[in-house]
Protein backbone atom coordinates (compact mmCIF):
# COMPACT_ATOMS: atom_id res chain seq x y z
CA UNK A 1 0.00 0.00 0.00
CA UNK A 2 2.71 2.43 1.01
CA UNK A 3 4.52 1.67 -2.20
CA UNK A 4 1.45 2.26 -4.35
CA UNK A 5 0.86 5.60 -2.65
CA UNK A 6 4.48 6.49 -3.05
CA UNK A 7 4.41 5.54 -6.72
CA UNK A 8 1.35 7.74 -7.27
CA UNK A 9 2.97 10.64 -5.45
CA UNK A 10 6.17 10.11 -7.40
CA UNK A 11 4.16 10.03 -10.61
CA UNK A 12 2.52 13.40 -9.87
CA UNK A 13 5.83 14.91 -8.95
CA UNK A 14 7.62 13.48 -11.95
CA UNK A 15 4.90 14.69 -14.28
CA UNK A 16 6.18 18.19 -13.71
CA UNK A 17 9.79 17.43 -14.54
CA UNK A 18 10.02 15.94 -18.00
CA UNK A 19 13.65 14.79 -17.92
CA UNK A 20 13.23 12.99 -14.63
CA UNK A 21 10.13 11.29 -15.93
CA UNK A 22 12.13 10.10 -18.92
CA UNK A 23 14.78 8.71 -16.56
CA UNK A 24 12.09 6.98 -14.57
CA UNK A 25 10.63 5.49 -17.73
CA UNK A 26 14.00 4.14 -18.79
CA UNK A 27 14.56 2.70 -15.32
CA UNK A 28 11.20 0.96 -15.57
CA UNK A 29 11.97 -0.40 -19.04
CA UNK A 30 15.30 -1.71 -17.75
CA UNK A 31 13.50 -3.33 -14.82
CA UNK A 32 10.99 -5.04 -17.06
CA UNK A 33 13.74 -6.23 -19.42
CA UNK A 34 15.55 -7.63 -16.41
CA UNK A 35 12.38 -9.35 -15.20
CA UNK A 36 11.77 -10.92 -18.60
CA UNK A 37 15.30 -12.37 -18.51
CA UNK A 38 14.70 -13.73 -15.01
CA UNK A 39 11.31 -15.17 -16.00
CA UNK A 40 12.84 -16.97 -18.99
CA UNK A 41 15.63 -18.28 -16.79
CA UNK A 42 13.23 -19.63 -14.18
CA UNK A 43 10.56 -20.97 -16.51
CA UNK A 44 12.36 -22.53 -19.47
CA UNK A 45 12.97 -25.96 -17.86
CA UNK A 46 9.30 -26.60 -17.00
CA UNK A 47 8.36 -25.16 -20.41
CA UNK A 48 10.69 -27.60 -22.12
CA UNK A 49 9.30 -30.47 -20.05
CA UNK A 50 5.80 -29.53 -21.16
CA UNK A 51 6.83 -29.29 -24.82
CA UNK A 52 8.53 -32.68 -24.68
CA UNK A 53 5.57 -34.32 -22.98
CA UNK A 54 3.28 -33.20 -25.81
CA UNK A 55 5.52 -34.29 -28.71
CA UNK A 56 5.23 -37.56 -30.59
CA UNK A 57 8.02 -40.07 -30.03
CA UNK A 58 9.10 -39.62 -33.63
CA UNK A 59 9.58 -35.91 -33.15
CA UNK A 60 11.43 -36.34 -29.85
CA UNK A 61 13.80 -38.77 -31.57
CA UNK A 62 14.38 -36.54 -34.59
CA UNK A 63 17.62 -34.61 -34.43
CA UNK A 64 16.73 -32.24 -37.25
CA UNK A 65 13.83 -30.35 -35.67
CA UNK A 66 13.92 -27.41 -33.27
CA UNK A 67 13.59 -29.06 -29.83
CA UNK A 68 12.01 -25.99 -28.23
CA UNK A 69 8.79 -26.01 -30.26
CA UNK A 70 6.28 -28.63 -31.36
CA UNK A 71 6.41 -28.91 -35.14
CA UNK A 72 4.63 -32.17 -35.89
CA UNK A 73 1.44 -31.80 -33.89
CA UNK A 74 0.44 -32.24 -30.27
CA UNK A 75 -0.19 -35.67 -28.79
CA UNK A 76 -1.48 -36.75 -25.40
CA UNK A 77 -0.32 -40.36 -25.84
CA UNK A 78 2.34 -40.04 -23.14
CA UNK A 79 -0.23 -38.90 -20.59
CA UNK A 80 -2.71 -41.65 -21.52
CA UNK A 81 0.04 -44.25 -21.46
CA UNK A 82 1.06 -43.08 -18.02
CA UNK A 83 -2.44 -43.24 -16.60
CA UNK A 84 -3.53 -46.46 -18.30
CA UNK A 85 -0.42 -48.61 -18.64
CA UNK A 86 1.97 -47.70 -15.84
CA UNK A 87 1.98 -47.81 -12.05
CA UNK A 88 1.68 -44.06 -11.98
CA UNK A 89 -1.90 -44.08 -10.55
CA UNK A 90 -0.71 -46.31 -7.69
CA UNK A 91 2.13 -43.90 -6.88
CA UNK A 92 -0.35 -41.07 -6.98
CA UNK A 93 -2.71 -42.81 -4.57
CA UNK A 94 0.16 -43.66 -2.17
CA UNK A 95 1.44 -40.09 -2.25
CA UNK A 96 -2.01 -38.67 -1.52
CA UNK A 97 -2.49 -41.04 1.44
CA UNK A 98 0.92 -40.21 2.88
CA UNK A 99 0.60 -36.45 2.35
CA UNK A 100 -2.90 -36.19 3.81
CA UNK A 101 -2.03 -38.25 6.88
CA UNK A 102 1.20 -36.34 7.46
CA UNK A 103 -0.61 -33.00 7.19
CA UNK A 104 -3.22 -34.16 9.72
CA UNK A 105 -0.64 -35.53 12.17
CA UNK A 106 1.55 -32.46 11.79
CA UNK A 107 -1.27 -30.02 12.40
CA UNK A 108 -2.44 -31.77 15.57
CA UNK A 109 1.07 -32.03 17.01
CA UNK A 110 2.16 -28.50 16.12
CA UNK A 111 -1.02 -26.67 17.08
CA UNK A 112 -1.09 -28.31 20.52
CA UNK A 113 2.59 -27.65 21.15
CA UNK A 114 2.51 -24.11 19.77
CA UNK A 115 -0.41 -23.25 22.03
CA UNK A 116 1.39 -24.61 25.07
CA UNK A 117 4.63 -22.87 24.17
CA UNK A 118 3.12 -19.50 23.31
CA UNK A 119 0.62 -19.24 26.19
CA UNK A 120 1.39 -21.61 29.03
CA UNK A 121 4.85 -20.84 30.29
CA UNK A 122 6.25 -23.88 31.98
CA UNK A 123 9.54 -25.13 33.23
CA UNK A 124 11.75 -25.81 30.23
CA UNK A 125 9.53 -24.15 27.62
CA UNK A 126 12.38 -21.90 26.47
CA UNK A 127 14.69 -24.88 26.07
CA UNK A 128 12.00 -26.78 24.20
CA UNK A 129 11.45 -23.87 21.79
CA UNK A 130 15.18 -23.75 21.08
CA UNK A 131 15.14 -27.50 20.61
CA UNK A 132 12.33 -27.25 18.06
CA UNK A 133 14.25 -24.69 16.09
CA UNK A 134 17.39 -26.83 16.13
CA UNK A 135 15.37 -29.85 15.00
CA UNK A 136 14.17 -27.79 12.05
CA UNK A 137 17.80 -27.28 11.04
CA UNK A 138 18.62 -31.00 11.08
CA UNK A 139 18.52 -32.13 7.43
CA UNK A 140 16.94 -35.42 6.38
CA UNK A 141 20.21 -36.54 4.81
CA UNK A 142 21.74 -36.70 8.29
CA UNK A 143 19.02 -38.97 9.67
CA UNK A 144 18.06 -41.32 6.87
CA UNK A 145 20.60 -44.00 7.79
CA UNK A 146 19.80 -44.37 11.51
CA UNK A 147 16.09 -44.03 10.65
CA UNK A 148 16.58 -46.85 8.16
CA UNK A 149 17.41 -49.06 11.13
CA UNK A 150 14.51 -47.67 13.17
CA UNK A 151 12.07 -48.23 10.31
CA UNK A 152 13.49 -51.69 9.75
CA UNK A 153 13.14 -52.70 13.40
CA UNK A 154 9.48 -51.62 13.27
CA UNK A 155 8.96 -53.84 10.22
CA UNK A 156 8.04 -50.88 8.04
CA UNK A 157 10.72 -51.20 5.36
CA UNK A 158 9.17 -51.11 1.91
CA UNK A 159 5.88 -49.75 3.23
CA UNK A 160 4.64 -46.22 2.76
CA UNK A 161 3.61 -46.23 6.42
CA UNK A 162 7.30 -45.70 7.11
CA UNK A 163 6.92 -42.31 5.44
CA UNK A 164 3.89 -41.44 7.57
CA UNK A 165 6.11 -42.18 10.57
CA UNK A 166 9.22 -40.24 9.54
CA UNK A 167 7.87 -37.27 7.54
CA UNK A 168 6.68 -35.46 10.68
CA UNK A 169 10.37 -34.94 11.50
CA UNK A 170 10.48 -32.71 8.40
CA UNK A 171 7.21 -30.87 8.96
CA UNK A 172 6.49 -30.61 12.69
CA UNK A 173 9.40 -28.36 13.77
CA UNK A 174 8.76 -25.68 11.15
CA UNK A 175 4.98 -25.79 11.50
CA UNK A 176 5.23 -25.51 15.29
CA UNK A 177 7.65 -22.65 14.84
CA UNK A 178 5.37 -20.62 12.59
CA UNK A 179 2.28 -21.46 14.67
CA UNK A 180 4.07 -20.10 17.76
CA UNK A 181 4.53 -16.87 15.81
CA UNK A 182 0.86 -16.67 14.84
CA UNK A 183 -0.40 -17.57 18.32
CA UNK A 184 1.96 -15.11 19.97
CA UNK A 185 0.48 -12.32 17.84
CA UNK A 186 -3.04 -12.95 19.24
CA UNK A 187 -3.74 -10.31 21.91
CA UNK A 188 -3.60 -11.67 25.45
CA UNK A 189 -6.88 -9.86 26.29
CA UNK A 190 -8.72 -12.35 24.09
CA UNK A 191 -7.77 -15.42 26.11
CA UNK A 192 -8.20 -13.61 29.40
CA UNK A 193 -11.77 -12.85 28.38
CA UNK A 194 -12.34 -16.48 27.41
CA UNK A 195 -10.81 -17.71 30.68
CA UNK A 196 -13.10 -15.47 32.70
CA UNK A 197 -16.03 -16.93 30.79
CA UNK A 198 -14.94 -20.29 32.15
CA UNK A 199 -13.43 -21.79 29.03
CA UNK A 200 -10.77 -24.44 29.58
CA UNK A 201 -7.60 -24.58 27.52
CA UNK A 202 -8.91 -26.98 24.92
CA UNK A 203 -12.04 -24.90 24.39
CA UNK A 204 -9.96 -21.76 24.16
CA UNK A 205 -7.63 -23.32 21.62
CA UNK A 206 -10.53 -24.64 19.57
CA UNK A 207 -12.89 -21.64 19.77
CA UNK A 208 -10.45 -18.73 19.91
CA UNK A 209 -6.94 -19.56 18.75
CA UNK A 210 -7.65 -21.78 15.78
CA UNK A 211 -10.26 -19.46 14.20
CA UNK A 212 -8.15 -16.36 14.80
CA UNK A 213 -4.93 -17.94 13.55
CA UNK A 214 -6.59 -19.70 10.61
CA UNK A 215 -4.33 -18.08 7.97
CA UNK A 216 -1.35 -19.40 9.89
CA UNK A 217 -2.89 -22.86 10.02
CA UNK A 218 -3.46 -22.82 6.27
CA UNK A 219 0.13 -21.69 5.69
CA UNK A 220 1.46 -24.45 7.95
CA UNK A 221 -0.75 -27.08 6.30
CA UNK A 222 0.43 -26.04 2.83
CA UNK A 223 4.01 -26.28 3.99
CA UNK A 224 3.47 -29.75 5.44
CA UNK A 225 1.70 -30.88 2.26
CA UNK A 226 4.37 -29.64 -0.15
CA UNK A 227 7.19 -31.05 1.96
CA UNK A 228 5.62 -34.48 2.19
CA UNK A 229 4.78 -34.42 -1.52
CA UNK A 230 8.33 -33.52 -2.53
CA UNK A 231 10.36 -35.55 -0.01
CA UNK A 232 12.82 -37.76 -1.79
CA UNK A 233 15.61 -39.29 0.28
CA UNK A 234 13.37 -41.21 2.72
CA UNK A 235 11.22 -42.97 0.10
CA UNK A 236 14.36 -43.50 -1.98
CA UNK A 237 15.99 -45.31 0.92
CA UNK A 238 13.00 -47.19 2.37
CA UNK A 239 10.74 -48.18 -0.53
CA UNK A 240 11.36 -50.37 -3.52
CA UNK A 241 8.32 -52.31 -4.64
CA UNK A 242 5.90 -50.88 -7.15
CA UNK A 243 2.79 -50.96 -4.96
CA UNK A 244 4.44 -48.92 -2.18
CA UNK A 245 6.34 -46.23 -4.11
CA UNK A 246 5.39 -42.58 -4.02
CA UNK A 247 5.45 -40.17 -6.96
CA UNK A 248 8.89 -38.60 -6.64
CA UNK A 249 10.74 -41.89 -6.38
CA UNK A 250 8.39 -43.81 -8.64
CA UNK A 251 8.82 -41.29 -11.44
CA UNK A 252 12.57 -41.09 -11.07
CA UNK A 253 13.32 -44.78 -10.71
CA UNK A 254 10.74 -46.79 -12.60
CA UNK A 255 9.76 -44.52 -15.49
CA UNK A 256 13.40 -44.10 -16.52
CA UNK A 257 13.58 -47.74 -17.56
CA UNK A 258 12.02 -48.85 -20.82
CA UNK A 259 12.79 -48.21 -24.45
CA UNK A 260 15.08 -45.56 -25.82
CA UNK A 261 12.55 -42.83 -26.45
CA UNK A 262 10.95 -42.75 -23.04
CA UNK A 263 11.43 -39.02 -22.64
CA UNK A 264 7.83 -38.11 -23.43
CA UNK A 265 6.51 -40.44 -20.75
CA UNK A 266 9.13 -39.32 -18.26
CA UNK A 267 8.39 -35.64 -18.74
CA UNK A 268 4.62 -36.10 -18.59
CA UNK A 269 5.11 -38.16 -15.41
CA UNK A 270 7.26 -35.47 -13.82
CA UNK A 271 4.74 -32.76 -14.75
CA UNK A 272 1.70 -34.70 -13.52
CA UNK A 273 3.52 -35.56 -10.29
CA UNK A 274 4.40 -31.89 -9.76
CA UNK A 275 0.90 -30.67 -10.59
CA UNK A 276 -0.79 -30.86 -7.14
CA UNK A 277 1.71 -28.65 -5.28
CA UNK A 278 1.88 -26.25 -8.23
CA UNK A 279 -1.92 -25.97 -8.43
CA UNK A 280 -2.14 -25.50 -4.67
CA UNK A 281 0.46 -22.77 -4.95
CA UNK A 282 -1.38 -21.06 -7.82
CA UNK A 283 -4.55 -20.75 -5.75
CA UNK A 284 -3.07 -20.13 -2.31
CA UNK A 285 0.08 -18.21 -3.22
CA UNK A 286 -0.28 -15.66 -0.43
CA UNK A 287 -0.61 -18.31 2.28
CA UNK A 288 2.28 -20.22 0.77
CA UNK A 289 4.53 -17.18 0.85
CA UNK A 290 3.34 -16.10 4.29
CA UNK A 291 4.31 -19.51 5.60
CA UNK A 292 7.75 -19.33 4.04
CA UNK A 293 8.61 -15.83 5.15
CA UNK A 294 7.05 -15.84 8.60
CA UNK A 295 9.50 -18.51 9.71
CA UNK A 296 12.41 -16.12 9.52
CA UNK A 297 11.29 -12.52 9.20
CA UNK A 298 9.04 -12.49 12.22
CA UNK A 299 11.67 -14.31 14.25
Amino acid sequence: MAIAAEARAAGRWLGRTASLSRDRRWALIASYACLVVFAIMFLFPPYYMLVTSLKTNAEIAALTTNPWIIEQGITFEHYWGLLAESSFPIYFKNTVIVAVLVVAITMVISVLAAYALSRLKFWGSGVLATGIFLTYLVPDSLLFIPLFKVVGSLGLLNSYWALVLVYPTLTVPFCTWIMIGYFASIPKELDEAALIDGANHMQMLWRVFIPVALPGLVAAAIFAFTVSWAAFIYPMAYLYSDDQLVLTVGTVTTLIRGDVFHWGGLMSGALLAAAPPVILYAFLMDYYIAGLTSGATKG
Binding site: S31, W68, A113, I145, K149, L165, F232, L266, M285, A296
Partner: protein, 305 residues
Protein backbone atom coordinates in the same frame (compact mmCIF):
# COMPACT_ATOMS: atom_id res chain seq x y z
CA UNK B 1 -3.22 -13.38 34.21
CA UNK B 2 -4.22 -10.57 36.53
CA UNK B 3 -7.84 -11.58 36.24
CA UNK B 4 -7.13 -15.21 37.10
CA UNK B 5 -5.03 -14.43 40.15
CA UNK B 6 -7.66 -11.97 41.34
CA UNK B 7 -10.49 -14.52 41.16
CA UNK B 8 -8.31 -17.14 42.76
CA UNK B 9 -7.03 -14.93 45.54
CA UNK B 10 -10.40 -15.29 47.25
CA UNK B 11 -10.06 -19.06 47.63
CA UNK B 12 -6.56 -18.90 49.04
CA UNK B 13 -2.97 -19.53 48.00
CA UNK B 14 -3.26 -23.33 47.92
CA UNK B 15 -5.64 -23.46 44.98
CA UNK B 16 -3.56 -20.86 43.13
CA UNK B 17 -0.59 -23.18 43.37
CA UNK B 18 -2.77 -26.03 42.22
CA UNK B 19 -3.97 -23.96 39.27
CA UNK B 20 -0.41 -23.20 38.29
CA UNK B 21 0.51 -26.80 38.62
CA UNK B 22 -2.44 -27.77 36.46
CA UNK B 23 -1.49 -25.18 33.86
CA UNK B 24 1.98 -26.61 33.51
CA UNK B 25 0.64 -30.16 33.54
CA UNK B 26 -1.66 -29.33 30.64
CA UNK B 27 1.18 -27.60 28.84
CA UNK B 28 3.48 -30.59 29.16
CA UNK B 29 0.70 -32.94 28.04
CA UNK B 30 0.15 -30.77 24.96
CA UNK B 31 3.84 -31.02 24.15
CA UNK B 32 4.06 -34.79 24.53
CA UNK B 33 3.41 -35.64 20.85
CA UNK B 34 5.97 -33.05 19.79
CA UNK B 35 8.48 -34.41 22.29
CA UNK B 36 7.87 -37.90 20.94
CA UNK B 37 8.78 -36.74 17.43
CA UNK B 38 11.77 -34.63 18.47
CA UNK B 39 13.23 -37.15 20.91
CA UNK B 40 12.17 -40.40 19.26
CA UNK B 41 12.71 -39.58 15.60
CA UNK B 42 15.42 -36.91 15.63
CA UNK B 43 17.47 -36.96 18.84
CA UNK B 44 17.51 -40.72 19.30
CA UNK B 45 18.46 -41.52 15.67
CA UNK B 46 21.18 -38.86 15.80
CA UNK B 47 22.77 -40.52 18.82
CA UNK B 48 22.10 -43.97 17.44
CA UNK B 49 23.91 -42.92 14.26
CA UNK B 50 27.05 -42.30 16.31
CA UNK B 51 26.79 -45.81 17.73
CA UNK B 52 26.11 -47.32 14.28
CA UNK B 53 29.16 -45.64 12.80
CA UNK B 54 31.39 -47.59 15.20
CA UNK B 55 30.24 -51.04 14.09
CA UNK B 56 31.64 -53.28 11.37
CA UNK B 57 29.77 -53.82 8.12
CA UNK B 58 27.78 -56.78 9.42
CA UNK B 59 26.95 -54.74 12.54
CA UNK B 60 28.17 -57.56 14.74
CA UNK B 61 31.34 -56.08 16.19
CA UNK B 62 32.33 -52.77 17.77
CA UNK B 63 35.26 -51.36 15.82
CA UNK B 64 35.68 -47.94 17.41
CA UNK B 65 36.81 -45.27 14.97
CA UNK B 66 37.90 -47.70 12.25
CA UNK B 67 35.21 -46.52 9.83
CA UNK B 68 36.34 -42.94 10.19
CA UNK B 69 40.00 -43.88 9.77
CA UNK B 70 39.08 -45.92 6.71
CA UNK B 71 37.37 -42.90 5.18
CA UNK B 72 40.35 -40.67 5.92
CA UNK B 73 42.50 -42.93 3.78
CA UNK B 74 40.12 -42.82 0.81
CA UNK B 75 40.84 -40.22 -1.86
CA UNK B 76 37.14 -40.33 -2.83
CA UNK B 77 36.14 -39.21 0.63
CA UNK B 78 38.34 -36.12 0.49
CA UNK B 79 36.95 -35.36 -2.94
CA UNK B 80 33.43 -35.52 -1.43
CA UNK B 81 34.53 -33.12 1.33
CA UNK B 82 35.95 -30.63 -1.17
CA UNK B 83 33.01 -30.94 -3.55
CA UNK B 84 30.43 -30.48 -0.76
CA UNK B 85 32.12 -27.28 0.41
CA UNK B 86 32.59 -25.93 -3.10
CA UNK B 87 29.03 -26.83 -4.07
CA UNK B 88 27.48 -25.21 -1.00
CA UNK B 89 29.50 -21.99 -1.11
CA UNK B 90 29.27 -21.33 -4.86
CA UNK B 91 25.59 -22.27 -5.10
CA UNK B 92 24.56 -20.18 -2.09
CA UNK B 93 26.56 -17.18 -3.33
CA UNK B 94 24.74 -17.22 -6.67
CA UNK B 95 21.35 -17.98 -5.15
CA UNK B 96 21.73 -15.00 -2.82
CA UNK B 97 22.95 -12.71 -5.61
CA UNK B 98 20.27 -13.66 -8.11
CA UNK B 99 17.60 -13.62 -5.41
CA UNK B 100 18.66 -10.17 -4.29
CA UNK B 101 18.79 -8.69 -7.80
CA UNK B 102 15.44 -10.23 -8.74
CA UNK B 103 13.77 -9.06 -5.52
CA UNK B 104 15.14 -5.57 -6.00
CA UNK B 105 13.95 -5.49 -9.61
CA UNK B 106 10.45 -6.62 -8.67
CA UNK B 107 10.38 -3.99 -5.95
CA UNK B 108 11.06 -1.16 -8.44
CA UNK B 109 8.07 -1.82 -10.72
CA UNK B 110 4.58 -0.52 -9.87
CA UNK B 111 2.96 -2.48 -7.03
CA UNK B 112 0.11 -3.63 -9.26
CA UNK B 113 2.29 -5.93 -11.37
CA UNK B 114 4.54 -7.23 -8.61
CA UNK B 115 2.31 -10.12 -7.58
CA UNK B 116 2.26 -11.55 -11.10
CA UNK B 117 6.04 -11.48 -11.51
CA UNK B 118 6.66 -12.82 -8.04
CA UNK B 119 4.22 -15.64 -8.73
CA UNK B 120 6.01 -16.63 -11.93
CA UNK B 121 9.47 -16.62 -10.40
CA UNK B 122 8.49 -18.86 -7.50
CA UNK B 123 7.68 -21.75 -9.84
CA UNK B 124 11.09 -23.52 -9.56
CA UNK B 125 10.72 -23.58 -5.78
CA UNK B 126 7.24 -25.12 -5.97
CA UNK B 127 8.07 -28.06 -8.25
CA UNK B 128 9.57 -30.93 -6.22
CA UNK B 129 13.32 -30.78 -6.87
CA UNK B 130 13.62 -34.45 -7.83
CA UNK B 131 11.06 -33.91 -10.61
CA UNK B 132 12.35 -30.65 -12.05
CA UNK B 133 15.83 -32.13 -12.05
CA UNK B 134 14.47 -34.77 -14.43
CA UNK B 135 13.72 -31.91 -16.81
CA UNK B 136 17.26 -30.60 -16.44
CA UNK B 137 18.61 -34.09 -17.01
CA UNK B 138 16.76 -34.15 -20.31
CA UNK B 139 18.06 -30.67 -21.15
CA UNK B 140 21.62 -31.95 -20.56
CA UNK B 141 21.12 -35.26 -22.39
CA UNK B 142 24.25 -35.80 -24.54
CA UNK B 143 22.60 -36.51 -27.90
CA UNK B 144 19.42 -34.47 -27.66
CA UNK B 145 20.50 -31.64 -25.36
CA UNK B 146 18.23 -28.72 -26.18
CA UNK B 147 20.76 -26.35 -24.63
CA UNK B 148 23.48 -27.62 -26.94
CA UNK B 149 21.04 -27.16 -29.83
CA UNK B 150 20.70 -23.50 -28.86
CA UNK B 151 24.47 -23.16 -28.50
CA UNK B 152 24.89 -24.67 -31.96
CA UNK B 153 22.64 -21.94 -33.36
CA UNK B 154 25.32 -19.51 -32.17
CA UNK B 155 28.07 -21.79 -33.55
CA UNK B 156 29.21 -22.78 -30.05
CA UNK B 157 30.42 -26.40 -29.83
CA UNK B 158 28.41 -28.89 -27.77
CA UNK B 159 29.14 -28.94 -24.03
CA UNK B 160 29.55 -32.37 -22.32
CA UNK B 161 27.29 -31.28 -19.45
CA UNK B 162 27.21 -34.39 -17.32
CA UNK B 163 30.12 -36.44 -18.58
CA UNK B 164 33.11 -34.26 -17.73
CA UNK B 165 34.08 -33.48 -14.15
CA UNK B 166 34.15 -29.71 -14.52
CA UNK B 167 30.90 -29.46 -16.44
CA UNK B 168 29.11 -31.98 -14.23
CA UNK B 169 30.05 -29.94 -11.15
CA UNK B 170 28.97 -26.82 -13.02
CA UNK B 171 25.63 -28.40 -13.95
CA UNK B 172 24.66 -29.53 -10.46
CA UNK B 173 25.39 -26.02 -9.18
CA UNK B 174 23.32 -24.47 -11.99
CA UNK B 175 20.34 -26.66 -11.15
CA UNK B 176 20.69 -25.95 -7.45
CA UNK B 177 20.86 -22.20 -8.06
CA UNK B 178 17.83 -22.41 -10.33
CA UNK B 179 15.88 -24.30 -7.69
CA UNK B 180 16.95 -22.23 -4.68
CA UNK B 181 17.12 -18.63 -5.94
CA UNK B 182 13.33 -18.11 -5.65
CA UNK B 183 13.53 -18.80 -1.91
CA UNK B 184 16.00 -15.93 -1.53
CA UNK B 185 13.86 -13.79 -3.80
CA UNK B 186 10.80 -14.22 -1.63
CA UNK B 187 12.69 -13.64 1.61
CA UNK B 188 14.42 -10.53 0.31
CA UNK B 189 11.25 -9.14 -1.21
CA UNK B 190 9.49 -9.47 2.17
CA UNK B 191 12.46 -7.79 3.84
CA UNK B 192 12.58 -4.97 1.26
CA UNK B 193 8.91 -4.24 1.88
CA UNK B 194 9.51 -3.91 5.60
CA UNK B 195 12.09 -1.11 5.23
CA UNK B 196 10.39 2.16 6.25
CA UNK B 197 9.87 4.49 3.31
CA UNK B 198 11.02 7.46 5.42
CA UNK B 199 14.59 6.18 5.37
CA UNK B 200 14.69 6.43 1.58
CA UNK B 201 13.05 9.85 1.65
CA UNK B 202 15.61 11.07 4.17
CA UNK B 203 18.42 9.65 2.05
CA UNK B 204 16.99 11.29 -1.06
CA UNK B 205 16.83 14.65 0.72
CA UNK B 206 20.47 14.21 1.68
CA UNK B 207 21.19 13.79 -2.03
CA UNK B 208 21.96 10.06 -2.01
CA UNK B 209 21.94 8.39 -5.43
CA UNK B 210 20.50 4.95 -6.10
CA UNK B 211 23.76 3.17 -5.34
CA UNK B 212 24.26 5.03 -2.06
CA UNK B 213 20.67 4.27 -1.03
CA UNK B 214 21.35 0.60 -1.68
CA UNK B 215 24.61 0.51 0.27
CA UNK B 216 23.67 2.79 3.17
CA UNK B 217 19.96 2.09 3.62
CA UNK B 218 18.85 -1.19 2.02
CA UNK B 219 21.78 -3.43 2.88
CA UNK B 220 22.13 -2.39 6.55
CA UNK B 221 18.37 -2.79 7.04
CA UNK B 222 18.46 -6.26 5.50
CA UNK B 223 21.63 -7.45 7.20
CA UNK B 224 19.84 -9.76 9.59
CA UNK B 225 17.59 -11.43 7.03
CA UNK B 226 20.48 -11.85 4.59
CA UNK B 227 22.54 -13.51 7.31
CA UNK B 228 19.74 -15.91 8.28
CA UNK B 229 18.80 -16.90 4.73
CA UNK B 230 22.43 -17.43 3.70
CA UNK B 231 23.26 -19.53 6.76
CA UNK B 232 20.05 -21.52 6.43
CA UNK B 233 20.66 -22.10 2.75
CA UNK B 234 24.24 -23.24 3.36
CA UNK B 235 22.84 -25.96 5.63
CA UNK B 236 20.23 -27.08 3.11
CA UNK B 237 22.63 -26.93 0.15
CA UNK B 238 25.42 -28.66 2.00
CA UNK B 239 23.02 -31.48 2.88
CA UNK B 240 21.49 -31.64 -0.63
CA UNK B 241 20.57 -35.02 -2.01
CA UNK B 242 17.82 -34.79 -4.64
CA UNK B 243 19.54 -32.84 -7.38
CA UNK B 244 22.86 -34.67 -7.46
CA UNK B 245 21.15 -38.02 -7.06
CA UNK B 246 18.88 -37.51 -10.07
CA UNK B 247 21.25 -35.55 -12.30
CA UNK B 248 24.59 -37.36 -12.01
CA UNK B 249 24.20 -40.05 -9.31
CA UNK B 250 27.54 -38.74 -8.06
CA UNK B 251 29.36 -39.29 -11.34
CA UNK B 252 31.42 -38.96 -13.44
CA UNK B 253 33.88 -40.98 -11.35
CA UNK B 254 32.38 -39.78 -8.03
CA UNK B 255 33.29 -36.17 -8.81
CA UNK B 256 29.90 -34.68 -7.97
CA UNK B 257 29.12 -36.72 -4.84
CA UNK B 258 28.05 -34.74 -1.79
CA UNK B 259 28.00 -36.13 1.74
CA UNK B 260 24.36 -37.15 1.39
CA UNK B 261 24.66 -38.95 -1.96
CA UNK B 262 27.93 -40.61 -0.95
CA UNK B 263 26.41 -41.79 2.33
CA UNK B 264 23.45 -43.16 0.35
CA UNK B 265 25.75 -44.97 -2.06
CA UNK B 266 27.77 -46.59 0.73
CA UNK B 267 25.05 -47.07 3.33
CA UNK B 268 21.96 -48.06 1.37
CA UNK B 269 23.16 -49.21 -2.04
CA UNK B 270 26.33 -51.01 -0.94
CA UNK B 271 24.68 -52.15 2.28
CA UNK B 272 27.43 -50.85 4.57
CA UNK B 273 25.18 -49.02 7.03
CA UNK B 274 27.94 -48.16 9.55
CA UNK B 275 30.19 -46.64 6.89
CA UNK B 276 27.27 -44.64 5.47
CA UNK B 277 26.44 -43.40 8.98
CA UNK B 278 30.07 -42.35 9.41
CA UNK B 279 29.97 -40.34 6.17
CA UNK B 280 26.76 -38.52 7.04
CA UNK B 281 28.06 -37.77 10.54
CA UNK B 282 30.79 -35.65 8.97
CA UNK B 283 28.08 -33.15 8.13
CA UNK B 284 27.34 -32.72 11.79
CA UNK B 285 30.16 -30.36 12.91
CA UNK B 286 29.53 -28.01 9.99
CA UNK B 287 25.80 -27.98 10.62
CA UNK B 288 26.29 -27.50 14.36
CA UNK B 289 28.43 -24.40 13.84
CA UNK B 290 25.94 -22.93 11.36
CA UNK B 291 23.00 -23.74 13.65
CA UNK B 292 24.75 -22.04 16.54
CA UNK B 293 25.23 -18.85 14.52
CA UNK B 294 21.63 -18.89 13.25
CA UNK B 295 20.34 -19.43 16.77
CA UNK B 296 22.04 -16.25 17.94
CA UNK B 297 20.14 -14.40 15.22
CA UNK B 298 16.70 -15.76 15.99
CA UNK B 299 16.93 -15.77 19.76
CA UNK B 300 14.43 -12.95 19.95
CA UNK B 301 11.43 -15.17 19.40
CA UNK B 302 12.69 -17.80 21.80
CA UNK B 303 13.15 -15.13 24.45
CA UNK B 304 9.58 -14.06 23.88
CA UNK B 305 8.41 -17.52 24.97
Amino acid sequence: MVAITATDAGTGGGSLRRLLRRRSTIAVLMCVPLLAVVLGLVAYPAVYSLFLSMLNKAETKFVGLDNFLFLFKRETFWMVVRQSILFALVAVLFKALIGFIAAHTINTIPAKGQRKWRGMMMVPWVIPAALSTLGWWWLFEPTYSAINWLLAEFAIPAVPWLSQTFWARFSVIVVNVWFGAPFFLIMYLAALKSIPEELYEAAAIDGANAWQRLVFVTLPMMRNIIAITVLFSIIVTFANFDIVRVLTQGGPRNSTHLFATYAFRLGIESGDIPLGAAVSLFMFPVLAVLAFVILRNVRRRIQAI
